[in-house]
Amino acid sequence: MSAADQAGRGLRVIVDPHVCLGGGQCELLCPDVFEVSHIARVRVERVDPRHADIVRMTADACPSGAIRILEDDMAKEEPQP
């Protein structure tokens, strides 16, 4: 398993509604995880490890900086079946 997968296992994503501009760049880049109505919303509880890289890239690219990634609890995650 790659390093990206390992890190991705505990990935949680939040969007700050006061910062989000609703421009929809995240939905464009990563529609599996982000959905934008008036502001962005995260569709999933945990990010599928396969999407970890794209989610990090999307968070970096967010023009308003509204997307935050929480990786601190990855150690507690159970191994993948």
Partner: protein, 403 residues
């Protein structure tokens, strides 16, 4: 190293081929102090610097220095959101955020498609037309008028204000010497637009239900804009809402038709229109550079920047920075959306109309390429509007062969 690098963005020659200037700027003069026609300004060319500056609105402000005297009838009035920082900016932006959000914009798709087809019905019959004014300009002006709830039939008037405004408004941000003529022109546009808008604001009940202008006028009392803010915000929405998107569509067609293999690819697969829009945004951004103002003195790449100096962030250069993009000078409509492209800016001032511009660009291109067999450029080097803040065409005459 001898400083033989001279980059004057007010020189029309530069814009015939700005890319070697940007390449040299990125490599040798990442912060370049202008010594000639510009106001006290420093240009930045690299992607990393551009992003860092645009994200830091506290150090690099969008507000206009008080001594530029632009509050009465000038840029302050037409600039609205563009020339204030948080918290004012946040408050103003929240009034229009919903109307331009991705969800709202998706609901405009059918309208934009209908407009594009209606316009093309007439233009394809004519065969020869100006792709900037007659197609892209008409489509984008009618769209933004419709969203605001104003008569789409006023699009020619809107386009005229836009064309006059685009050159003059951005020039006044860059030039060293005051240009009274440009200032007067901006004043005239604002007073004409204000008079036009006041008629509609006065009878908001007559505006279409759910339209943006009606909802701005009829907002709850505690949530209402002042009459000045209302006019300024509406004027900005109207002007910004069609100038840049017009350039996007026209720039896409020019860039495609200069590369027959790319034009063929889009015609064979019109679904590539969305991706072609992304690549055009990167390759030839409608707004090549945007100004900021230093709120304190600082040093950037060895260049000293004083408080109140202008910083010009060259989006067009950042988008072709090889430190970020592979083969940046190759135009490839299959490249798709790139998270690094910063044609809509970055940070709190990121273009409000981003989802709408993408939608209009995609539909505008898709309908045009679906309904034509060939597009012939009648002027291979169409004349440009020379103003650092816009990369617009004076005209883009074409002859089309309908399907």
């Amino acid at each position: 190293m001898m400083n033989d690098f001279c980059f004057d963005p007010l020189d029309p020659v530069v814009w015939q081929n700005p890319w070697p200037y940007f390449a040299r700027g990125r490599d040798e003069f990442p912060a370049y102090r202008h010594e000639d026609t510009l106001a006290r300004s420093v240009s930045v060319f690299r992607h990393a610097d551009a992003v860092a500056i645009l994200k830091d609105w506290e150090t690099f402000s969008s507000s206009i220095p008080a001594d530029m005297n632009m509050n009465e009838g000038g840029l302050g009035e037409l600039g609205s959101l563009m020339v204030v920082d948080p918290p004012e900016h946040t408050r103003l932006r929240n009034h229009v955020r919903g109307a331009f959000s991705l969800a709202s914009v998706k609901s405009y798709a059918a309208t934009v498609e209908r407009l594009a087809d209606e316009i093309l019905d007439e233009l394809l019959e004519r065969g020869t037309f100006d792709l900037t004014a007659d197609y892209a300009g008409q489509l984008t002006a009618r769209t933004i008028l419709t969203i605001l709830g104003l008569p789409a039939s006023d699009w020619r008037r809107m386009r005229e204000w836009t064309v006059r405004g685009a050159a003059n408004v951005t020039r006044s941000h860059f030039v060293r010497e005051a240009e009274p003529e440009a200032d007067r022109s901006v004043e005239a546009i604002f007073s004409e637009m204000a008079a036009y808008l006041d008629d509609f604001v006065g009878q908001a009940d007559a505006l279409a239900e759910g339209s943006l202008l009606r909802s701005l006028v009829q907002a709850a009392p505690g949530d209402r804009l002042s009459p000045f803010e209302l006019r300024a915000l509406t004027a900005l929405t109207l002007l910004a809402g069609n100038e840049t998107t017009t350039t996007l569509i026209a720039g896409a067609v020019l860039t495609l038709e200069q590369r027959p293999d790319q034009a063929r690819a889009l015609r064979a697969e019109p679904e590539l229109a969305a991706s072609a829009v992304e690549e055009t945004l990167r390759f030839r951004p409608p707004v090549p550079g945007i100004p900021r103002r230093a709120t304190r003195s600082l040093t950037l790449h060895g260049v000293e920047i004083a408080k109140d100096d202008n910083i010009v962030v060259w989006l067009a250069s950042a988008n072709r920075d090889p430190r970020v993009f592979s083969e940046p000078d190759r135009f490839d409509i299959r490249r798709g959306v790139s998270p690094q492209t910063i044609s809509f800016g970055n940070g709190v001032h990121t273009c409000l109309g981003m989802p709408l511009a993408r939608l209009e660009g995609r539909i505008g291109l898709e309908r045009l390429y679906r309904r034509t067999r060939a597009i012939e450029l009648l002027e291979p080097n169409p004349p440009l509007v020379i103003a650092p803040g816009v990369y617009a065409f004076e005209r883009l005459p074409v002859r089309v062969t309908p399907v």
